[in-house]
């Protein structure tokens, strides 16, 4: 059973086509990147995959559950984090984990263990306001791992992290992924990160999938030496 099976996803806003017939499959235990220049439709696609935005057309199955009918069952084992979500500044870290443990029907201690693994076991009693942006991101990652996910969806999770912390996050994520075998769908503008982490890249441009292949293959196809060169070639081709 695939972790994500999206077929023919379409979305337009006020006559402007944001996502155009996107097919996206993420297999069980697979690590896939969703890449594309700004405005390519990545976040809209993610929001449709999470059932937050309703597609104009197409269908989504998450962990075998069709959306929107079985959205609750699907999200039960889906961890999500993004650079644009935060721990509320007036909540302590343990309280934040406790609330989301309640929302997911899981044990808060799993989140605390994940924080421990990320090297932040001592911040549980600090409030969101007392954390650095990097620490807040890591709390979001711990929250996502707390659900014992079968699918982890991350929208630019390392955007606010310094290179050392970002490397640690990648290391922990890959370690957890190897141990638990969950699937990952990640967006990032850090091409080196994607090359290190992902088996496959789905490239969006102008709301369409323009490439779906391993990173090295995409780099070779667009005549670049690495994924970053390929990214620039594709993005320029869209302008």
């Amino acid at each position: 059973m695939d972790a994500i099976e999206a077929t023919g996803l379409r979305k337009s806003f006020g006559g402007m086509l944001a996502v155009d017939r996107v097919d996206l499959v993420v297999g069980e235990g697979e690590i896939v990147a969703l890449l594309g220049p700004n405005g390519a439709g990545k976040t809209t696609t993610l929001m449709m995959l999470l059932g937050i935005t309703e597609p104009d057309g197409g269908s989504v199955r998450l962990l075998g559950h069709p959306l929107p009918r079985e959205r609750q069952q699907a999200l039960q084992r889906l961890g999500f984090t993004a650079s644009y979500v935060e721990i509320p500044g007036d909540m302590k870290v343990w309280q934040f984990l406790d609330v989301f443990a309640g929302l997911y029907g899981t044990d808060r201690r799993r989140g605390e263990e994940a924080l421990e693994t990320l090297g932040l076991g001592t911040i549980l009693s600090r409030t969101g306001n007392q954390l650095s942006s990097g620490q807040r991101t890591l709390v979001g990652v711990a929250k996502a791992l707390m659900t014992s996910p079968r699918l982890l969806v991350m929208d630019e999770p390392t955007a606010s992290l310094d290179p050392e912390v970002a490397a640690r996050v990648r290391e922990v994520l890959l370690e957890e992924q190897r141990r638990e075998g969950f699937a990952v769908l990640i967006t990032s503008h850090n091409m080196a990160e994607i090359e290190r982490m992902c088996e496959r890249v789905v490239f969006l441009a102008g709301g369409r999938v323009v490439a779906d292949a391993p990173p090295s293959e995409i780099a070779a196809r667009y005549g670049g030496e690495d994924l970053e060169s390929a990214f620039i070639t594709i993005a320029e081709g869209q302008r």
């Binding site: 979305k11 806003f13 944001a18 976040t43 809209t44 929001m47 999470l50 937050i52 935005t53 309703e54 959205r71 609750q72 069952q73 999200l75 039960q76 889906l78 999500f80 984090t81 993004a82 644009y84 979500v85 935060e86 721990i87 509320p88 500044g89 007036d90 909540m91 302590k92 309280q95 406790d98 609330v99 989301f100 443990a101 309640g102 929302l103 997911y104 029907g105 969101g128 979001g140 929250k143 969806v153």
Partner: protein
Amino acid sequence: MTGHRVFAVVRRHWYPMVRSAPRVVENFFWPIVDIMLWGSLTLYLQRQHAELPLPIGFLLGGLLLWDLVFRAKNAVALTFIDEAYHRNVVSVLASPISPTEYLTGAVLWALVKAGASWLLLTSLAAVLFSFNVLAIGPAVGAFLGLLLVFGIALSLVVLGLVFRFGHAADELPWALAAIFIPFCAVFYPVSALPGWARDVAALIPAAHVFEAMRAALAGQPQGWGSLWVAAGLDVAWLIGGFVFARAMFGLFRRRGYITRYM
């Protein structure tokens, strides 16, 4: 619907509340100001032996009952506005919670918050101004229930507007109270309103409750008929509020308004 998700919503708002002086102040300070103001006015009028067509307690009774509508409405609507303010909307919507579970949690939280503030108000009214809320009569329980339901129905309207207009509607919980209070006839009889406003008041459950409260304080026989009218209107408002909020949430999902919260 599962209890752990509903109570997670309650805990989400309980945790910051108990450790934040400004939030406690917001919940208790203004009710105290109100009771001091209206209680002092009541005392002054009593001492002047002012000739009023109603027992003087109607001012404090009106305040105590209106505060419940106001607090219940704000507490529900502010749960979502609070998530938006703290950039937590996407995380909540990406979790398995359903709109009904979220709403149930928000209503429970509203009962806790409004209940705490109301208990303080009634205690202060009793201690400082010798006004016993039970003096309103045996129907006081019905008044409270009817007004709570109306407050929750109004909060659904506010939530719907917040889904539709985003941050531009953040001030609505307060504005809506200002729009409704004249028609609710909290401190004066409905007959004091101009004709067209009386027609509007007839459609508002709170106006019937406050009329019944004044009748009870005046020692007139309890007009249960008006309370049944209020109950019927409450059901209509609750259904209307729910349908409106649901429709606006549907629009939120269709138009991708989630991007406002990223």
